[in-house]
């Protein structure tokens, strides 16, 4: 509720109390970053850490991040693990089916750059950024849930800075 709190003193200027003034950017960004629905999708060992992050101990739900089984419902895709070339074609397809605005978080060394398979992984894509644009990279093999959470908070910060007026890089 960051934006609403900041506006508190302005809200009070209106007698009815039911009106708030804010910019379209702030309202949109706030709603987007508070409900980043996630693609129900995991790849390798990193996916186990992702599941641990979703479970009650770290509780992704409190950030409004819930897994959805269709790419048409989701805002973010977590690439949580080794991207094989066979899987890469499917990831591209899922990404293309996600509606804008969409974000990608690359989790772990494998998705970042090929990880332990960078040299001899004949069927491993050396970094998911070779097929789809990545917003946040989380290093680690695997990253702990705390690291994944920090990555997601970084992504929220990015979304908070967005603007309808200026084109996204």
């Amino acid at each position: 509720m960051g934006i609403l709190n900041k506006l508190d003193n302005r809200v009070e200027q209106f007698e009815s109390g039911n009106i708030i003034i804010t910019s379209a950017d702030k309202l949109l960004n706030w709603s987007r970053l508070s409900s980043m629905w996630q693609m129900f999708f995991g790849l390798a060992c990193c996916a186990i850490e992702m599941m641990a992050t979703s479970a009650s101990h770290y509780d992704l739900d409190r950030f409004g991040i819930i897994p959805r089984p269709s790419p048409r419902h989701v805002d973010i895709i977590l690439i949580s693990g080794t991207v094989t070339l066979k899987m890469a074609t499917r990831i591209k397809r899922l990404w293309d089916q996600m509606p804008e605005p969409k974000y990608c978080l690359s989790m772990g060394s494998c998705a970042n750059c090929g990880g332990p398979y960078w040299e001899h992984g004949y069927n491993v894509l050396k970094g998911v950024d070779r097929i789809i644009p990545v917003d946040v990279y989380v290093p680690g093999c695997p990253p702990r849930p705390e690291a994944l959470l920090e990555g997601l908070i970084k992504l929220q910060e990015r979304i908070r800075e967005q603007s309808l007026a200026k084109k996204q890089a």
Binding site: L85, T89, C113, Y122, K126, R130
Partner: protein, 159 residues
């Protein structure tokens, strides 16, 4: 039953189909079987009263040496609690071996994996397709002379 006892027994039945036995090796003792006899030998190993190797623990393909590939069978008997290792060596120029998927159903996917990664064909296999790599993949990556492709479907493969 020890490997050399099993070996003697098989030698009496299959004669030339059974190759030499290696016991002074750092791994579990093993012997060779010829590629066209492996199916009959497997059936015998499974059904013979005193052997009853009812479990295929593992089937692996390997790039054996410069001119040959090999298939390695690890067997176990839950009846007699003994185990056995058998190898089949086949030339790279004609890498064909009889399937054992009709003897042990577990061999079905194992043989597909060996075919996928090492590239021998299993004669009589009901459905010999690639199992791990994409169907349009070229070559068999666990061959020593395999060269990683530069691109696959427009994606750069090397680091």
């Amino acid at each position: 039953m020890e490997t050399n006892e099993v070996y003697e027994k098989l030698k009496r039945v299959f004669e030339d189909g059974i190759g030499e036995i290696k016991t002074d090796v750092p791994v579990y003792p093993f012997f060779f079987v010829s590629a066209d006899k492996i199916n009959a030998v497997s059936l015998f190993l499974r059904d013979e009263e005193s052997l009853q190797f009812d479990n295929l623990s593992c089937l692996s393909g390997m790039d054996y040496d410069k001119d040959n590939l090999a298939v390695v069978y690890h067997l176990y008997s839950y009846v007699h609690h003994h185990k056995l290792v058998v190898k089949v060596v086949i030339p790279k120029s004609n890498p064909v071996v009889k399937t054992v998927s009709d003897v042990w159903a577990a061999a079905d996917w194992h043989e597909r994996e060996a075919y996928d990664l090492v590239g021998m064909t299993f004669e009589g296999h009901p459905d010999l397709r690639r199992i791990l790599l994409s169907e349009d993949w070229e070559g068999h990556p666990l061959r020593k002379d395999y060269k990683v492709p530069e691109f696959y479907k427009g994606m750069k493969v090397p680091y």
